[in-house]
Subunit: 123 residues, 2 copies
């Protein structure tokens, strides 16, 4: 059985976050995608805003790794992961669950990131 | 710091699923709550439909346990967990992520369960 393309997209996302690969990030998203990170904040809309968002994340020395199976339901992939920021200088861990919603071309049209203060820890 | 009430509700839910405690289940939900399990199926609406849904789950010998931190964002709790069904007779494991959306009384007004065939395994 070939791998579900949504699973491959999530693995690409983890790799791109850790390697600070903006081309791989932007390749994931549809042109009119929205990003709400964390859920409850004002959603970003469109690739320019999304690129600026990830530039800030990359500047924090972000790395990310899956922390459990990717759940696939209808046109969504939902996955638990761990983000680490500021390595060696105010290090922080955030436990996040992202929801990717895909269009028919398997591009992400909506990303929602669920996390809050309860999910932020310092080593 | 006292425990976030949304965290306590999720822990109550895991316990109620495992102990087949219908009173504890129905106590979680608002009267007009909806349940979409799995996401992509027709949502159930209202406590009568929700009770029937959990009666079927209980009849499968369901148990459930958290499999990572509960993520809290705005009025949502999102959490990874493991469900086990049919113990000793066609046993199955399902890796699920649920999204609870709470009203101002901290009752669940919407439950969405993300899982699909990729998340079902037999031992």
């Amino acid at each position: 059985m070939s791998k579900n393309p949504k699973l491959a997209m999530v693995e690409q996302y983890m790799r791109a976050l850790t390697e600070h690969d903006m081309a791989a990030i932007t390749d994931l998203y549809a042109d009119d995608a929205t990003v709400e990170d964390p859920v409850g904040s004002e959603p970003l809309s469109g690739k320019d805003a999304i690129i600026r968002f990830y530039e800030v994340a990359f500047s924090s020395g972000i790395s990310a790794r899956l922390d459990g199976p990717v759940r696939i339901a209808a046109n969504h992939a939902v996955f638990p992961f761990v983000v680490e920021l500021n390595p060696g200088n105010g290090e922080m861990r955030i436990d996040v669950i992202d929801q990717f919603t895909f269009n028919d071309d398997n591009k992400v049209v909506a990303m929602k990131a669920f996390w809050g203060e309860e999910n932020m820890t310092t080593p």
